[in-house]
Structure formats: C-alpha cells, structure tokens
C-alpha cells in the first residue's frame, strides 16, 4: 500500500495551494501522486509498476484534520475521494504477440488506422512491461511492448540483433500500421538496442528513436547477453553507497576512444531523441550522450540529434506523475541486490513530466506530421 503525506489544515483547492510539509513542499498540483512512497514497514527496494494495464490504478485521496505525518490508517479522514488512473484509453486494443519466436504485447489505438508504430523496449531487469506501450497507444501509436531479456532466463541471453529486427517487422507489417512510420522507444538496455538498430541494421529503418537513459558504448556483434555481460564485467568498478546500494555508473567509464568499442552513431539517419538525468547513478548516460554528439558532429549527422538532460534526475525516467524510485531491487546473477538509480524526487518528477511532453511532441512531429521527419524539436 502506498500512502501520501501532505500537511494542510483546511479543505481547499490543492492545486493552487502550498504544501508546507510532508512528502513534498510548495505548490505542486500533482505532488500527491509523484511523491507517494511505500508505507512504513514495507519490504525494501519496492518499485511501483502497473502489471495489469486493463484495469486502472486506484488512488484514494483523503483529507485529515491537522498536520499529520503518521498513523493514517488509525484515524478517520474528514473526507476522501477515489480516482482511477489509467494506462489504457477506452477503445485501445491489447493483442498478445507470439510469432516467429518473438514475444510481446501489441496495443492498437481505436480507429480505422493505419497508425504510426513503435517498438517499446525496457531495460535489463527483463520481463514484459506493458504500461508505457499502452499509454503510447492511448496517444495514437500502435505500440508493441517487447519481451526480450531476462537475467534469470539463460536462453534469452542468446538473442541477437535479428530478434529485434523480426520484432520491428512484426509491427511494421501489421495491417493497421503505416510501414514507413515505425519508430523505436527504449529505456536503458532498450535504448542501447535502439541505438544499435538505428546505426547497424540494414533491415530496420526506424522513422525516429526515443532513447531514455541509454548509451552507445558496446561493440558490434554478439548477443544481448554479451552486451549485458560486457557491462558487468567491470565489477571492481561497482561502488556501494552508505546503504549498501550498488552504484554501477563507474563500470561505464571512461567512455572509450576506440570507435570499435562503440556503436557507430555517425551512421544513424533518422531523428533521435536522447533523454537523460544527470544524477544517473546506474550508468554514465550524460557522458555517453556527449560522446555520441561529438561522433555525430564529426560524421555530419548531428542535426538528427536532440538531447534532453535533467538536473538531479536519475536513471528511471518514466511516464509522468508516477512515484520516483531512487533505489530498487534488481536480480543480478540470481542474487537480489539493490541498485541505486539516482535522482531526487522533485527534480526527477519534473523531468518525467517535461520529458514526456517533449517525447510526445517529438513523436508527433516525426510520425504524424506531413512535412517529413524533422530532427530538432
């Protein structure tokens, strides 16, 4: 159960009023949502993620008398209201995909179509997370959430780039998708895949790419497992913080000068949007973005690059108004560890809100607009 603490003695319009204490302060219309955290006594390292996107997230919002900080379950509120928060708009269709060895879930917007399409990929935590794809479909993009890598499943480490090419083509070839308007959307390992496909694939021609908290520092060829293992071979560079949370960003430094150790981003010929937080403790994504910009400048395709960087935001930049997680559980070599993702709540939440707006504008510009793909926002 998640709770919220907010100190306000009177019934009043929350959006306009200042909070003077609690899980957030100041005037924040959506603060009650993004500052939620596990109730005291919960298990450590939790992360709030919607698994069943066909039903809403129910948020109970209550007003209590006085400035209260603890013991919400023991007292009666003065008044409360229930809201539903949805990832899936009415009319969006959810389709299980299991073909040509590819596993995923496709979300199709309501309407005759055809629609621009997206291949949506999360990070090295693995599994099949549908909520962002459902949300993107609710904004008019036929989106497929792709299941690909799971550190706990040995066989998934054998996947190569052609798995993603096949997945991309499943979206591209769907009768309700515009074949020349399919993009890539990734976070973390998913961004790495996107950047690789955009630069190296002769089969896949993305219309544009959105890469959150990604990087380009891995060599060509090999399996996805190789990529992942490359990152974690520099285990001696892992530091621990005061809570024993693992900080992985050192493993990605320094950014190699040797171009053979990096994705040749000079070969990318579609607009690409990089979204990073400068307090990313999991990977040196800002440094990587800077290096990518230099490579693209040298290659003459820098006009395709847009960079968004957010102060004090961490690695997990997700759709807005969802709570921020500075550190959560992660399965590494079959062991549960807690990884430090970084970011402080307020700036991270601002980053999620602002980046999402800009991501949607970037997608609209490049996937819906008739004047052809444009790089800069």
């Amino acid at each position: 159960m998640y709770i919220n603490l907010r100190r306000k003695p009177l019934l009043s319009v929350i959006a306009d009023d200042l909070s003077c204490g609690g899980t957030y302060t100041g005037k924040e219309a959506m603060g009650l949502l993004w500052s939620m955290r596990p109730v005291p006594g919960s298990r450590e390292g939790l992360r709030l993620r919607k698994l069943n996107v066909c039903i809403p997230q129910l948020v109970n919002i209550s007003v209590y008398s006085g400035h209260v900080g603890v013991g919400f379950r023991e007292q009666d509120p003065l008044a409360s209201v229930l809201t539903e928060r949805w990832y899936m708009a009415p009319g969006v269709r959810r389709i299980d995909i299991k073909e040509k060895g590819v596993r995923g879930t496709l979300f199709i917007p309501h309407g005759p179509g055809p629609f621009p399409g997206l291949l949506d990929m999360w990070g090295g935590g693995g599994g099949l997370l549908e909520y962002r794809a459902a949300l993107l479909a609710s904004h008019g993009y036929a989106s497929m959430a792709l299941e690909y890598f799971n550190p706990a499943e040995v066989n998934t480490a054998e996947l190569e780039l052609n798995y993603f090419e096949t997945a991309f083509n499943i979206v591209r070839d769907h009768p309700q998708v515009m074949s020349d308007r399919v993009g890539l959307f990734g976070l973390s390992l998913g961004s790495i895949v996107s950047i690789s496909l955009a630069a190296w694939s002769s089969v896949v021609k993305p219309r544009c790419c959105v890469c959150i908290s990604g990087n380009h520092t891995h060599a060509r060829g090999g399996t996805i497992g190789d990529v992942f293992n490359e990152f974690i071979t520099n285990v001696h560079k892992v530091r621990m913080d005061e809570n024993n949370y693992e900080i992985w960003r050192g493993m990605g430094l320094p950014i190699p000068d040797d171009i053979s150790q990096k994705v040749d981003v000079g070969k990318i010929n579609c607009p690409i949007l990089l979204v990073n937080g400068d307090d990313d403790q999991n990977w040196p994504t800002v440094e990587s973005a800077e290096d990518m910009a230099q490579m693209m400048r040298a290659a003459g395709n820098e006009h395709l690059l847009t960079r968004l960087e957010y102060p004090d935001a961490g690695h997990l930049i997700e759709p807005p108004y969802s709570p921020h997680f500075r550190a959560t559980k992660f399965l590494k070599d079959g062991q549960k560890v807690i990884l430090l993702w970084g970011g402080t709540t307020k700036p991270h939440s601002d980053a999620q809100e602002d980046s999402w707006k800009k991501i949607l504008a970037f997608l609209q510009q490049n996937m819906y607009s008739s004047s052809g793909p444009r790089a800069k926002l």
């Binding site: 229930l82 005759p112 621009p116 020349d180 004047s371």
Partner: protein
C-alpha cells in the same frame, strides 16, 4: 478504399514531391496483408478527445490534427443507449490554416448543430436513421458508462458514410457514477428507492430526488449528485413493481414521502439537518407538499417545470387515488396526434385544496422554468409560487431561473433533449410533447445544472 476527387486547398509537401494532394491517395489497409502506404509524405490524421473518461456533466475537448488546411471534414459521434438504440450526431467543419479542427474554437457549418458549440456532438445526439420512433435517451444502468465513438470523416458527409470516409477515431466514456460512489437498493418500511453515497467517511449532505408521472425508478441524477459529493436518494412512487397496487396509479400518500425523507435523515452517513429535495414535473408538487409538513425541514427545494397543486387527489393515508384518465379533458393534440399535458397543470385547473400552502415555507426555493414547456404550465406555476411567497413576505426565499426555448425535461447537461417521445402503447401508441428546441434547451441544461449545484452548496454545505 479511400479515394475522392480533387479538393480545393491543395498544399505542397516539403519532401520532394511537387504537389501532394491528400485526397488522391488510396490505401488498402483494411485488407490484411494488402498493399501498405508507401509515401512517406502522406499525413496521418489524428482525432483526440480529452478527457477520454469523464462524468456526464464534464466538458470534453475534441480535436482533429494533421489534416490539410482549409479542407472540409466531418466529426461524428455515435453511441448506443442501454436499450440498444443507436444515437448519432455530426458536424461539418473546415479545417484551420494549420490543418486542425477544434470543437472548442471552430463553428459547425452544418449537421446536428450550427455555430461554435464545444459540447454540440453530445447534446445534439439524435436517434440514427432507421431507429425506432419516439425515443428518449435515458440511462437505466448507471453503473456502466455511455461509450461514445467519435470519428473524423473526410468531407462534409453524414455518419452513414463513415465506412468509406473515416480518417481517425477515438472512444470516450461518459459516466453518471464516479469511482467510489456506492449504489444501494432501498426497500425498507415500504419505501422503494435507490440511495447513492459518495466515497469517503461521510456524513454527507443529501438530496431526495423526485421525478414525474413517467414513473419507475430514475437513478441517474442521483448518481451524479453522489459523484459531486451529496448522498442522494431516488424515490419511486408510481409505476414500479415493488410498489403496492396497479402500476398506472399513485397508491402511496403523505406517509410514504415522509418515510422516505426520514429514512434519509436517519441514515448514519447523512447529515440529518442538511437535506434538500429536488423534483421535476409532478415531482415538484410532491416536493412542495412534503416540505409543507411542519415536521419535515428540508434545507432547500429545487423545482423544475412542475405544478404547485394537483388534479389528482393525494390522500393523507396510503390509499388509492383517482385515476389519471380524468385528466384527459385537459389534454390537447397537435397535427400528428401527439398529446400535450400542459393544460393539466394550469393553476385554474388544479384543485384548490391541493394547492400547497407555501405560506409555511421556511427554506430557499429555486424554481426552474423551460419557457417552451409543452408538458406543464411551468411559467404559470412559477408565477403562482412567486406571488404566494411575495404576499407572505417571503420573496427572499424564491429564486427563478427561466430559459427561453427550453422544454419540460431540463436534465443534467450535455445530454440530448427529446421534443416528443413515446408515452404509452395502450390502448394505442401515444407520443407526448415535451417541448424545447435543441440549442436553447442544451444551454438551459448547462446553465441550470451549474446553478443547481451552487444552490445546493450554499444551502447544504455552509
């Protein structure tokens, strides 16, 4: 297949193709595995609605994007009633220079309504061609939403051409019940009704909700009050299987209505001294009559288009009343044989002893008049009430809202009005005139609802 002739307002794309005419492109995307769009410069229209999930009285913003500039388009809405009838509305627009259409900004130049009406596609809904006659849109199952399919069509067309002209679509849900609102069936002490409670600990201020001679149990207005924070009790008094006696007569009297009010007062989640009463049509008479009892003290009364007296004698004890058919001498008919009940409630035709003694009124009373009411003599009754209160020095309790062009059925906003609808099927099919013209009636519903909620807030919360 999507194809059409050249339209005025062609534009050049910036991608090397000299002239790209939106209308010349064809696609076969409906054929699985068929030919796909190949031109990368072809635009992709988008229709958005915000919010996609809302309460019935919430506004919705409908917009079309990525269209050619100054191009004719149609936006249409389709919805199925609980009875399975299809209702639809459509409006013709010409896109802006930037290729958008925005129903909050742009005027309709044809279709179900004209001019700039952001909510016109909702209150302009009509039964689709081929539908049954004499329909009236009323939500029976308040626990499910109305699902509205909105489409963007190419050109100035009618909804029947949707299959061949549809460019984009979006679905929106419209609810009477907010999340967390509880619906409780009440069958206690002979009282038949449905109680709606808002989410939260309570207690809540409350409303007793009364409808007209159409009978049955009408829940949707109560559900909406509960969604706005008021406990609300819809009460049945005629035409319900759980009520005693023949369904075409009122077989309950004063004790029944008092029991209903007391039931609300005694409810642990209701403030006993913050209860209002709302009545439409004959429900107005019942509202006034109930408030007249010295031991019933409502905080406010809302009366919509109804009489201050009755041609039917409502007994003090639960007893049979005279048949409604005696009213028939006051019925009038138009050329199509539709009946108007208007004259039944003319003050001169109301039995003198039934006229409620408003001199005893102690709480604020809001009376809402549809000036084109063809079912009740609302203007005359409003005048009667106002004069009575004035004469006893209580004019400060009276508020009148009067809407030109509005009919009898002034209901929550953004729902369509039926100027005439089926009233009875036996002994023969009879349709009754409610009155009201589409646009002014919609405006009346929107404005009066806002004022009803403000009136309730003033009298039930402060």
């Amino acid at each position: 297949m999507l194809h059409c002739t050249e339209e005025p307002g062609m534009y050049s794309a910036h991608c090397g193709i000299i002239i790209m005419n939106f209308c010349h492109l064809q696609h076969k995307a409906q054929v699985p595995g068929g030919v796909h769009w190949t031109s990368s410069c072809r635009p992709a229209p988008l229709l958005t609605a915000s919010p996609v999930c809302a309460l019935i009285d919430d506004k919705i913003s409908i917009r079309g994007h990525f269209l050619p500039p100054r191009c004719p388009v149609t936006v249409c809405a389709q919805m199925q009633s609980d009875d399975g009838d299809l209702w639809e509305a459509f409006a013709h627009f010409n896109t802006n220079l930037d290729g958008t259409v925005n129903l909050t900004r742009d005027p309709s130049v044809g279709g179900s309504y004209l001019g700039c009406e952001p909510m016109g596609l909702l209150w302009g809904l009509q039964p689709a061609p081929g539908a049954r006659e004499g329909l009236r849109l009323r939500k029976k199952k308040v626990e499910t939403p109305y699902v509205m399919l909105m489409s963007l069509l190419k050109g100035h067309v009618s909804p029947s051409e949707r299959p061949s002209t549809e460019l984009a679509a979006v679905t929106a849900e419209r609810w009477y019940m907010a999340p967390g609102v509880r619906r409780i069936e009440i069958r206690q002490k002979g009282v038949v009704g449905t109680l709606f409670l808002p989410p939260g600990p309570g207690p809540f201020p409350a409303m007793l909700d009364l409808w007209g001679m159409g009978g049955g149990l009408v829940e949707y207005r109560s559900a909406l009050f509960a969604s706005r924070g008021y406990a609300s009790f819809s009460l049945a008094y005629i035409g319900h299987k759980d009520l005693p006696g023949p369904q075409n007569r009122i077989n309950v009297g004063d004790p029944y209505f008092k029991s209903a009010f007391q039931l609300l007062q005694d409810h642990p989640q209701v403030y006993p001294d913050r209860i209002g009463i709302i009545g439409l049509s004959f429900g107005v008479y019942l509202t006034l009559r109930l408030a007249n009892h010295s031991d019933i003290k409502p905080s406010c009364l809302i009366c919509i288009n109804g009489p201050a007296g009755s041609t039917i004698k409502l007994r003090d004890a639960d007893d049979r009343t005279e048949q409604m058919e005696n009213d028939q001498k006051y019925w009038t008919y138009d050329d199509q044989g539709n009946v108007s009940f208007r004259a039944v409630s003319l003050p001169a035709n109301l039995s003198p002893e039934s006229k409620v003694k408003l001199e005893h009124l102690t709480c604020p009373l809001m009376y809402i008049v549809g000036e084109d009411d063809l079912s009740a003599s609302s203007i005359e009754n409003a005048n009667l009430i106002e004069e009575t209160l004035s004469a006893t020095g209580k004019s400060q309790l009276f508020t009148r809202l009067s809407y030109p062009g509005a009919g009898h059925l002034i209901e929550p906003p953004y729902t369509p009005n039926s100027r005439v609808s089926l009233w009875s099927v036996k002994p023969q099919k009879l349709a009754t005139l409610w009155g009201g013209h589409l646009a002014p009636h919609a405006a009346a519903q929107e404005d009066s609802w806002k004022k009803i909620l403000e009136f309730m807030e003033t009298n039930l919360r402060h």
